[in-house]
């Protein structure tokens, strides 16, 4: 008896400390550190973008490294906006989709509601291409045209000019590093390129076979420089000069995009979700209010119907709440509106095991067992049905988590699973400890009333 009470007091103290942790860390400037709940985009406001990655041009072996590279590049771009805690992740659905649709990039931007701006910056792909024109073609074009460059002639001439260029397969993807350089005589900005080994070989091959021809360097479909190939270039280095205006912004932007920006895999936006911040605040307040009211109503019901054990169940439910809130912070679980709803539903479900146990206890008391025997039997015999029903909940939760098609569903599922597991501890282990600690020793009218429940009277 004394042992039970001491343990119960310890458990209560630990629960209070955990509860205090959840509460105190909600505010900045406290000695435990600032760990507020992590709120999902639907509660904090922000944008959720889903891109489809086009991997059709990649060999199967390269897909995962390219996807990782894609994530890194987008992450760097997102960081430029100064968004706090952006999330960039890749997703593979190979089991459920064909290869074309299987690879995704998911970007979450808390606080950003101007998606148009955001998605433009993310999806902007500076496409650098190297294209070829033979010397003969260029000559005949120049003969027929007044200008050799784009922009100063008619649209038809522009189109004819661009049509001459044939792709070589050499692109910005094969640039390992770009540097900003200045021509020593003219002081014009230029961009130095270092190709990857693949790019070096290809560039060497092209320049070897096309001495005297022209290489058009295209940025986003526009030629920025069309030098003549004078020699085979074998060291994988090239320089783009000319085409840049004197203020070196344009050149340095290209350097930045080539180094940090060029997307290794083309992406297209297939889903956008934006939630304004006001909507989230309403949902959070509603969730908190609903949680408190539900807790109070359930507590009243438990105490009225189950009396002393009911009170124990309420204490256990308090511990459940404290543990869950602390786990949300420690795991951490990103809370969405559905996740909060899930948590409130689990408050209602967490006491189910208590109810099963207390009902069983009452039956044993009816059969004439003493209070202590009845308690032991109640916990022992209710176990199989508690186990079976919780396992079916966990089956549901796990399937929901793995097949949930949106963060809304997986957020709910995670809370649900954690809730079932924690409630098994609080409703069984913690409740037993408390009940043993406070159960009356002697069988009197009062003690039988306290330990019993419902409307039917017990014989003493």
């Amino acid at each position: 008896m004394f042992k039970h009470r001491a343990k119960a007091v310890y458990l209560l103290l630990i629960a209070i400390i955990i509860g205090y942790f959840s509460y105190a860390t909600q505010f900045p400037d406290n000695w435990l550190g600032f760990h507020p709940f992590r709120l999902g985009l639907d509660l904090s406001g922000g944008s959720h973008l889903v891109y489809k990655a086009d991997v059709s041009k990649l060999a199967s072996g390269d897909i995962s490294t390219s996807m990782n590279a894609l994530r890194d590049v987008v992450e760097r771009r997102v960081n430029i906006f100064g968004v706090s805690e952006p999330l960039v992740q890749t997703q593979e659905n190979a089991a459920l989709s064909d290869k074309e649709n299987a690879y995704r990039l998911i970007v979450e931007l808390p606080g950003v509601t101007d998606v148009q701006e955001a998605s433009r910056s993310i999806g902007a792909t500076p496409i650098l291409e190297f294209k070829l024109v033979t010397a003969a073609q260029m000559k005949s074009f120049q003969a027929s045209s007044t200008q050799s460059t784009i922009g100063t002639t008619t649209a038809e001439q522009d189109a004819a000019y661009l049509a001459m260029f044939k792709p070589t397969g050499l692109t910005g993807r094969m640039v390992a590093r770009a540097t900003l350089q200045f021509n020593q005589t003219t002081n014009q900005p230029a961009v130095g390129l270092n190709f990857t080994s693949e790019g070096r070989d290809l560039f060497a091959k092209i320049t070897k076979e096309h001495i005297g021809d022209y290489i058009g360097i295209f940025l986003d479909g526009k030629p920025i420089s069309v030098p003549v190939v004078r020699d085979a270039i074998l060291d994988g280095k090239a320089e783009i000069s000319g085409g840049f205006t004197n203020d070196n912004n344009e050149a340095s932007k290209l350097v930045r995009d080539l180094n940090y920006g060029a997307l290794p895999v083309p992406i297209t936006l297939i889903s956008t979700q934006t939630i304004g911040p006001s909507l989230g605040a309403v949902a959070v307040n509603g969730g908190i209010r609903a949680g408190i009211i539900a807790f109070i109503l359930i507590s009243i019901f438990l105490i009225v119907w189950y009396r002393l054990p009911g009170f124990v169940a309420v204490v256990a439910l308090g511990i459940y709440t404290a543990l869950m809130l602390a786990l949300f912070k420690l795991i951490p679980v990103t809370l969405t509106a559905a996740g909060i709803a899930g948590f409130i539903i689990t408050i209602g479900m967490a006491v189910d095991a208590n109810i099963l146990i207390f009902e069983r206890m009452k039956e044993e008391l009816h059969r004439g067992r003493g209070i202590w025997d009845a308690m032991h039997e109640g916990f022992a015999r209710a176990w199989t049905s508690i186990r079976d029903s919780n396992i079916s909940s966990i089956i549901t939760g796990v399937i929901l988590y793995y097949f949930g098609s949106s963060s809304v569903v997986t957020g709910f599922a995670l809370v649900f699973i954690v809730g079932v597991l924690v409630s098994m501890f609080t409703a069984i282990t913690a409740s037993r400890l408390f009940l043993y600690a406070v159960a009356p020793q002697r069988q009197t009218k009062l003690s039988m009333f306290l330990i019993s429940n419902g409307f039917r009277k017990l014989k003493v």
Partner: protein
């Protein structure tokens, strides 16, 4: 036990509900949300006064002639249209402002491509199937030692009949509400169905567990129907009370929890209420019916 003796009455009652649900599903079907069909959903508020609905429709019809604009609350419209890209979004934003004459605030903007929609639908079917399969297998396993007079897989089968019952009725309700109040079926609704599946099997298990225990202790002459009847009356209070606490939480959530999860909560309330009903009045009596069939053969 009155539940067992009047079981035909309960079968008829459930039969009627299921019939109504089927009729509604056949005639009206379900209204799938944008997360299944793909498309755009914009919630737009006009704090300084709602412009004429026809004007908004007209402005948006240049982008999608099948656009739907519905009023929500005092100063909001909910716009539904085909999936759009960033450039079209800019055009939509401009159209919503009626070329600058109104000042809209986009509260939410969802645009889901058709690929994602089809995938969400596929995943939903798979998860419903897997949850049902998982539960049957588990119940069959948990009740494997019970074979007299009804073999263990039949417990699983009965549990599944009860589960299908519990899922069809809320689905039918949402079909009716979809027709009369434009309630949509979205991924959250599917989540609700799965939670109903997981939850309503709880109560069924509680009764079955008691049947299992009583079969072990009973003398062999006692009719099976009587044992099941006793098991129901012994577990009656706890079946009701466990659902009651969850229903308390759900009802509070429905009224206080905010609009985002209201339809989700409604589906859960109906499903859990129906689920508790079915585990007492349908599931266990069905065990008795099955046992009678076997003996009449």
């Amino acid at each position: 036990m009155w539940v067992i003796n009047n079981r035909k009455l309960f079968y008829i009652f459930s039969g009627i509900l299921i019939l109504i649900s089927f009729m509604s599903l056949i005639i009206w079907g379900l209204k799938p949300g944008v997360d299944f069909t793909g498309g755009t959903l914009i919630e737009v508020a006009y704090p300084s006064g709602l412009p004429d609905q026809a004007k908004v429709v007209l402005a948006l019809s240049t982008i999608d002639s099948a656009v739907s604009v519905r009023q929500s609350g005092d100063n909001e419209y909910i716009v539904r249209m085909k999936a759009i890209n960033e450039n079209e979004h800019a055009v939509v934003t401009k159209a919503l402002s009626l070329d600058g004459s109104a000042s809209p605030v986009e509260k939410t903007f969802d645009s889901i491509g058709p690929i994602l929609g089809a995938e969400a639908l596929r995943k939903s079917y798979i998860s419903i199937f897997l949850v049902i399969l998982g539960i049957v297998l588990y119940i069959t396993f948990a009740f494997r030692k019970v074979s007299q007079p009804v073999s263990s897989w039949k417990y699983g089968l009965v549990a599944v009949i009860a589960l299908i019952h519990d899922v069809i009725i809320p689905t039918g309700l949402f079909s009716i509400l979809g027709h009369f109040a434009s309630y949509e079926v979205d991924t959250l609704f599917i989540t609700a169905l799965l939670v109903i599946l997981g939850f309503s099997v709880h109560d069924t298990i509680v009764v079955f567990d008691r049947v299992r225990e009583n079969l072990k202790n009973a003398n062999t002459n006692k009719p099976f129907g009587e044992i099941v009847g006793e098991s129901i009356s012994q577990t009656f209070t706890r079946s009701i009370n466990t659902s009651l606490t969850t229903l308390i939480a759900l009802v509070v959530l429905y009224f206080v929890g905010g609009a985002t999860t209201q339809h989700f909560t409604l589906a859960l309330i109906v499903g859990i209420a129906v689920g508790t009903y079915s585990s007492i009045f349908i599931g266990s009596p069905l065990l008795v019916t099955i046992e009678r069939w076997k003996n009449n053969k």
